[in-house]
């Protein structure tokens, strides 16, 4: 196994872990963290793919560079929305994932 394969498998691992976390956790900060790391996993996959041939492919590198900047602006927007939601409703959860409903389900 070449080192590139390690990183390709690692990106799959990160993606899957974060997808699970995204669904399971109710807190919005947690969800945004998971989404951001899923993006990193995709970037890692692209970087690994770029490294497979004998020449390093600059096209995926440029895509990832663009992607990093877009990811930070999307994250900033998501965090701003979360904070506004907190200010309006006093909670950092989506309405259908209210912590008290979830805790009732857990108990009952």
């Amino acid at each position: 196994m070449s080192p590139v394969t390690f990183y390709l498998l690692s990106s799959v691992g990160i993606f899957v872990v974060c997808l699970y976390g995204l669904i399971v956790h109710a807190h919005l900060i947690r969800k945004i963290l998971a989404l951001n790391m899923m993006g990193s996993a995709v970037f890692l996959l692209l970087t690994g793919v770029a490294r497979r041939g004998e020449l390093t492919d600059p096209v995926p590198h440029a895509m990832v560079l663009t992607g990093i900047v877009v990811a930070v602006s999307a994250t900033a927007f998501a965090l701003a929305v979360a904070r506004r939601l907190y200010e309006e409703c006093g909670r950092a959860y989506l309405p259908e994932e209210d912590p008290e409903d979830l805790s009732e389900e857990r108990e009952g």
Partner: protein, 348 residues
Amino acid sequence: MLSLFFDAVLALALPLLAWRVLTTRDLYRAVILFIAFGLLVALSWARLDAPDIALAEAAIGAGLTGALFLNTVGGLVGRKRSPSRESDESREVAERREAIQSSPGEPVDEVMRPWWVRLALTVPILALGLALGWAVVSFPEPAIDLAQQASDNLEASGVDHGVTAVLLNFRSYDTLLEIGVLLLAVVAVWSLDLGRVRGGQAALSKGLPVLHGLVRLLTPIMIIVGGYLLWAGAKQPGGAFQAGAVLGALGVLLVLSGLVRPPLSDGSGLRIGLAVGFAVFLGIGTAVMLATGELLNYPPASTYGLIIIIELFLTVSIALTLAALFVTAPPRKEQGSKEHSEEKGEES
């Protein structure tokens, strides 16, 4: 052998760290782990011969994004929730929610879906992981060798560095749209009007002499580093994005230390600075249509000059955008301070 071992450990550490980020009880700790995750990702990109994106990830992915998260978690902690929705709820329910909700000073979150949902989820998630894992180890050979094509045409691109050539010449349309996305993100964040919201604005520290001294010391260094990265981008790793990231981080530092006040006069200078990258890029992109008849198809003789001009303005806009996203509040109309022009002068 040793390097193979290092790669294996790094590749294994990344998913484990991601798992820790999502399961740590304390949200502050989760964000710190997230920053560590970003730095390890940057390290793995350095191992994969991608120094350009390793630089950008260390500055933006780990540094700035981490600062954004810390700022938000700080904004959600230690403040009473507004009682708007509790009028029709019984006291008991409110108290229990209070217990679940984070207590001041310790942003604890362990609210998850019930155990049977989690158990049922593990099967499809594991299946997805196995399928994706199988897919990435049995990738087919690419039909078009883009690496070869890019290096064959590097001569015609006006610059000597592959990534810069792709970003600003071969695929400049993508980069143009990306700058548009950045502008859009600032407009969207500003439209949420977090300036009115308590704690919505970045916390400012006043009168910390050590911090002030450090920032005064770092400011010229970071400007030089940013300028160097921009200039170096033509022939080696570096370019507008990395330079913009460094200068954006400088902007955040200046705001945090209170040396530059964020509600910047009527903000017209800031607004122009945010838009100038996109405007210049689009302007040059359409102007070259007169010469070559195609959007963003630069005339061969002046390619290098045009790319440098575009990158210069892109750097200003990217730096200001990243700083503005951190500050979040839009500039106020009624205040008339001059600080902003200083900041702009430094960054351009």
